[in-house]
Amino acid sequence: MSRAGARDSGTALLFLSPLFVLVVGLIVYPFCRAIWLSFTDKLVGYPERFVGLRNYLYLLQDDGFHAVVRNSLVFTVASVGLKVLTGLAMALVLSVTWRWRNFFRGLFLLPWITSTVIIALTWRWMFDSFPGRGFFNSVLMDLGLLRSPMALMATAEGAMFAVVVANWWRGFPFFGVSYLAAMQSIPLELYEAASIDGASLWRRFWHVTLPGVKHVVIVTVLLSFIWTINDFNIVYVMTRGGPGTATQVFATYSYEVAFNQLRWARGVTVSIFLVPLLVAGIALLSRYLLRQENA
């Protein structure tokens, strides 16, 4: 390497070093520490001892954890599915509406920028059956469609429905705005050509729009899957994992085990269980995107 090249490399390393320190300090170290803790019997306030796979084996046999896996998957798949559908609908409407488009785009972003705790509390109140406060119950009763309030949050299915709705409402604008950006990059000529060929609205959507936004859909689904399966605030504020354990998900269960039961290592293991699934998802996606790029 020439002297100039070595000097450039040195300068580059110097500029990269703050980022390197940040990545190691804020991502690599905590992650490795979490992995290590999951192989220990660490209790809060006590030193850790290596116990191998004991925490993993315990969780595999724990019926509470089985429920957590089930609940997390239902919560995530339902929320992400709804977000994709409504995000697409939002983008389609905004892409053909010229008047007030920016106003509506801003309006639709409101849930995305509102504090999650406020969103969770608001939805909790809306589903509430307390007289005069629960929005849905009040409306249905005023319309004469209900005689007594419906206690949605007190049933397993109802509580899950409620947290899914709140999560969906908070997240769909991100999908909508992303899809809108992708749709606007589709050449208009493609639509014109399809129209001339006699393609219906549905066929234009299926054969032109959808392939045009496919990459964005995949990326948003993956990102949202990761955010949703790790979501804590909405479930904790709305149901605390209840009634019973009906809405207990990875994040709330991990918190309960680590902070209330003081079983730090087991709590960490609950979260670590997700990592292989997420890593596989990210790897598949990266591979797919790279292949598309090369093609």
Binding site: G45, R147, P149, A154, E256, N260, L262, W264
Partner: protein, 448 residues
Amino acid sequence: MRDARLSRRTFLTGAVGSSALFALAGPAAPAVKKGTSLRLWILKTYVEPTNKAIEASASRWAQKHGATVTVEYFTFEDMQTKYVAAIENKNTPDVGQLETGAPARFAGMGQLLDLTGFARQVEGEVGRAPANVAPVTIIDGKTYALPWYIMPAFWYVWRDVFDKHKVKLPSTFEDAKKAAEALNRPPEFYGLGQSWNRTADGYGVMQSLMYSHGVGWTTKDGKYQSIKTPKMQQVMKWATDIYKEGIQPADTLSWTGSQNNENFIAKKIAQTSNGPSITFALENALAKAGDATERKKREEALANHLALPHPGGPDGRRMWGLALSFGIFKSARDPEAAMSLIAHLLSPEETLAVMRESHGQFTPVLDKARAATKEYFQKNENYRTFGRAAEWFVGTGWPGPVTAAAAEVQASNVLTDAPAKVIIDKWSVDQAIDWADKKIKEIYATLG
């Protein structure tokens, strides 16, 4: 020694409103270096005046000794989170207010100073806590915290509703259920509101229910014992029948810590368990009443709400409650000053000053403080009941001592998840008991 004599006289007379200058001094109040700085963690309750009164008391100590006290709050919600984070980050306060299970948990971790000697000194000055309360702070014969007060929950009922329908006020859980059946007028009004949620309103009542039926998951020496008994079946039957029989609002199981208060105050339910924050809310509402009509309405509500002790069971009345104490963390920069601060806070004068702002949710436990506060609890029938909280108190893990394992049983929510499994997942009572028993056994196998 002059100070000591003065303070003894103060304690003996229990004089209401004595000057803080005469507060505990002498042997129980170790020397404080000028300029000392302490961090004090206290529980922030819904009754804001109490929080302010504790802060003011700490300030009086600081002023007297030329020291500073930084008061930091934790709430019921983040109590565990804050302590766990502090312990793991080695950032514990000098003095911390501890709830029922905390002395056992934190002492086991080696976080708390052994205060046995200091506790004896304080006992000499202020007296002892009742025999059912003191063990909360004693672990393996050593005292790790000094008890200050009990914050119990009571069985709130609307007296006018009971009178109108000529229903007997409940003294047992069975009475409470029968009363609920008699008073039930759905969908406008329900006989009862008892949630098995993840708050003290859930697991606290579940423990009162279990202990009053003679069901405990430990032996007297704190070892695990099975709850797979006919008595526990009775407990679970009560806990689940109140849901099956439609005597509660349909959303009761999903209530948070405040929804039982709201439903009770809005007169949607006849009975519920709660701390005296209901009384605080009603007293506060009256104080803020605008016109005469509103005032009359609120006066009636205040007069008609009645706090009873938790109902008893076939084995007596045992009320689970929060026993708040003070501990000193080993990380304390100046343990002597920390002891002095605790001695100051525990003195009858200071205790009285705090209690006066508590709207009944603060029941002192040390002998002389209790004697000094007797007059306060004569205010009315509800306050007379509040004043007796320590009599019925039992800690987590009855009949054994409060241990880290017992505290974990409570924290793991297994006690309230068991009835929820019957109500929500349609398990049988026996299945739910087997499940809970297995979980408890597991906890004791690793911690017990």
